[in-house]
């Protein structure tokens, strides 16, 4: 292909009717407290891993809902499961278990 010095952007559209909701369903089934998350971001603010890198739990939830599995898998690998987010969460979401369940779902569906 001829190089014009610019490329076409990758398609960033997300079709909510067709995206992959398997992991989301798995997490909601096994850790129902995920449903009460208000996306306040306290978890991200307190996160140990976020001190060193751009790891962002709230963003993980967005990725999860959108079904962006590849990015989700890459990002979630940074979590150290220290549990600070769990203690900080004002809604009582079992955030640590949400991470564990996402990891398990990724493994289960071999994504």
């Amino acid at each position: 292909m001829k190089n014009f010095g610019y490329t076409l952007s990758e398609d960033r559209q997300i079709n909510y009717d067709k995206n992959d909701k398997k992991i989301l369903a798995y997490v909601k089934e096994h850790e129902p407290s995920f449903n009460i998350c208000i996306s306040c971001g306290t978890c991200t603010a307190t996160c140990s891993a976020a001190q060193f890198t751009n790891f962002n739990i709230r963003h993980l939830y967005t990725l999860l809902k959108r079904g962006e599995v590849t990015t989700l898998k890459k990002e979630i690998a940074k979590c150290m499961l220290c549990g600070k987010c769990l203690l900080a969460c004002p809604r009582g979401v079992n955030t640590r278990n949400v991470i564990i369940k996402i990891n398990q779902a990724i493994e289960k569906y071999s994504l």
């Binding site: 140990s48 890198t53 499961l81 203690l87 640590r96 278990n97």
Partner: protein
């Protein structure tokens, strides 16, 4: 050699039992890891062998640990184990003296009274009669207690006893029948020949008055033999497998073989050594506070033996270790639980972002830990104390904490944890420190257990006590009262009970609480409780706080930032970490001196301050 067809059920049962036992133990010992096999061989020819024998006598026969928990319960277990063994030994000796032969068929001592009726034909016949009857009575008293325990377990200091599966009921019933049937069979025979000791002789005469003993005695011997045979066949498949496995476990443990958080044949031996006595049930806060009734140690081990890999059973646990502290067999329940969680672990990790450069080198490292960063007052107090004492230290995780790896271990992610352990070990080595001080018992546990550091690892309560004893910091005893809450990982996890109390006694009036030290309550937010929901955690916290706040102390002192963070949520009393209390006391002890120094020249200024 005497023989009668009724010995067949007993003999067949015994042969089946020993074939199964030999197969199982051989399999487990062969599949031990190389290092463990080496330890086993080395241990067999060392002093450890005799230590193991001593422990077997004390624990497997006398049941010393159960006696400490409840004397009646201890007596019940002892009467079965010691009583039955002595019955077998006594019977064998009696038979050998009687027959003048060194060898005998295995059933002969068991059914001695059936084959021999000549009471004065051998030396010490009368003594044997008395001893054997006494031992039978001893075991029968245990059977009676066991029966009452099933009906009313509170008599034995247990609120709940184990719910048994069908196989266990079957084995238990056959066990319960063995000794009454032996009593009946021996009494009937004694009644027929007018011999027997104080128990069987008198009972025999009594039965002879209204039962045609000629007809029933043979039936009783058959029934006794069938009960024995049934029990032997059921033994390897029921909880009674512990009888022999506990002996093997005690040997292996004394030889230095440990549970290494991965399920192997040593874990299998531990699982089979569980007698399902149910002592762990009452100790579990998930039962007493959160009303989860099927996850306690005994049920968890039962599910492993039945090959049911249930995720909830593996994950519904705080790993607080209260059950394992009271386990009379000494099974490492926490590590078995972690080894089961490991089966659900995923390998997805990328910790490349962690820097591995230290700021400076120093003789002392202070590692606050993630949870301490969540309760900054503790780290401020610690830093102030260290600075006042003039310690040259390196705050290893000052700018954001690298996790120690213990939370990953508790979630079963052992491989991921080892990545962090490698990174942190490198950091600690690079710092050139001789002492590592941490504020978090969770970190302390992993530093001591998994890091294999060549340096001294201390919890801050130990380090602060040392600073006070060395005179580097001065504290002031106040009139305030406090209760101390034992964090799970510090107390049961690292066996540190004494130092925090000694430290607190120097600064406050320490009150005792009803459940402390080994029985200390978990705050409910333990990182081990991976899948517990908020309500279940809260119930544990509330119950723990009720115990701690009962006598209205001025402070609840704790030594764990996670416990502090949990308790402050709903405590009516001030919750302070030990480091904060010490720092407060240091400030108070300095104040009078400070005021005195500047009092004379500028009195008003002080008042303004």
């Amino acid at each position: 050699m005497s023989y009668d067809p009724f010995v067949i059920p007993f003999s067949a049962g015994a042969i089946i039992l020993f074939i199964i036992l030999i197969y199982k133990y051989t399999y487990w010992i062969i599949t031990l890891s190389k290092a463990d096999t080496f330890k086993l061989l080395k241990g067999l020819f060392s002093i450890k062998f005799f230590k193991a024998i001593k422990e077997i006598v004390l624990e497997s026969l006398f049941h010393r640990r159960i006696f400490k928990i409840n004397p009646v319960l201890g007596y019940m277990h002892m009467s079965f184990a010691l009583g039955w063994l002595l019955l077998i030994l006594g019977g064998t000796l009696e038979n050998k003296i009687h027959s003048h032969k060194p060898f005998n068929a295995p059933y002969e001592p068991i059914f001695f009274k059936f084959f021999n009726h000549d009471i004065n034909a051998y030396p010490w016949a009368n003594e044997f009669k008395f001893v054997m009857d006494f031992l039978l009575l001893f075991v029968l008293s245990g059977v009676l207690l066991a029966f009452f325990k099933r009906i009313y377990s509170r008599l034995f200091g247990m609120k709940k006893t184990t719910r048994l599966k069908l196989g266990d009921w079957f084995a238990m019933m056959s066990l319960w029948f063995i000794f009454p049937l032996r009593f009946l069979a021996e009494s009937f025979t004694a009644g027929m020949y007018d011999n027997g000791g104080f128990l069987t002789g008198n009972a025999g005469r009594f039965f002879a008055s209204f039962i045609p003993l000629q007809d029933v005695s043979y039936i009783a011997w058959w029934a006794y033999s069938i009960a024995l045979g049934t029990f032997f066949v059921a033994l390897p498949f029921s909880r009674y497998m512990h009888i022999f496995t506990e002996v093997v476990l005690i040997f292996l443990r004394n030889f230095g073989i440990k549970n290494c958080k991965v399920y192997n044949s040593f874990s299998a031996i531990e699982v089979n050594a569980c007698s399902r006595c149910g002592i762990c049930i009452d100790k579990c806060q998930l039962l007493t506070s959160s009303r989860i009734t099927d996850t306690q140690g005994v049920y968890f081990l039962q599910s492993i033996r039945n090959n049911e890999i249930k995720e909830e059973k593996a994950f519904d646990c705080l790993l607080c270790g209260r059950c394992q502290e009271y386990c009379p067999v000494g099974i490492n329940l926490n590590n078995i639980r972690i080894s089961r969680r490991f089966e659900f672990a995923t390998g997805n990790q990328n910790y490349d972002y962690i820097s591995s450069q230290v700021e400076k080198t120093a003789p002392v490292i202070y590692f606050a830990g993630c949870m301490t960063h969540l309760t900054p007052s503790i780290k401020i107090a610690m830093e102030s104390i260290l600075k006042t004492a003039g310690i040259d230290y390196l705050f290893l995780d000052k700018n954001g904490s690298i996790c120690c790896g213990r939370p990953l271990v508790t979630a079963g992610e052992i491989l991921k944890a080892h990545k962090l352990i490698e990174k942190n070990t490198q950091l600690i080595k690079d710092s050139g420190a001789k002492t590592l001080v941490t504020s978090c018992p969770i970190c302390l546990k992993v530093f001591k257990e998994d890091y294999k550091l060549p340096i001294e690892v201390l919890h801050h309560s130990q380090y602060l006590l040392r600073l006070i004893n060395e005179g580097k910091i001065r504290v002031h005893h106040s009139k305030e009262s406090a209760v101390y809450h034992d964090p799970c990982e510090l107390g049961r996890g690292n066996k540190i009970y004494k130092e925090p109390r000694e430290l607190l006694n120097k600064v406050v009036n320490l009150q005792s609480v009803s459940q402390e030290a080994e029985l200390g309550l978990c705050c409910g937010n333990s990182l081990g409780g991976v899948q517990l929901n908020t309500v279940q955690r809260d119930l544990i916290r509330i119950d723990a706080l009720n115990v701690l706040q009962k006598n209205n102390p001025n402070y609840i002192a704790t030594a764990c930032p996670l416990c502090k963070k949990t308790f402050v949520k709903s405590a009516e009393t001030d919750v302070k970490d030990i480091a904060e209390i010490i720092w407060l006391s240091m400030q108070n002890s300095r104040k009078p001196k400070f005021v005195h120094e500047i009092k004379q020249p500028k009195e008003e200024a002080v008042i303004e301050l």
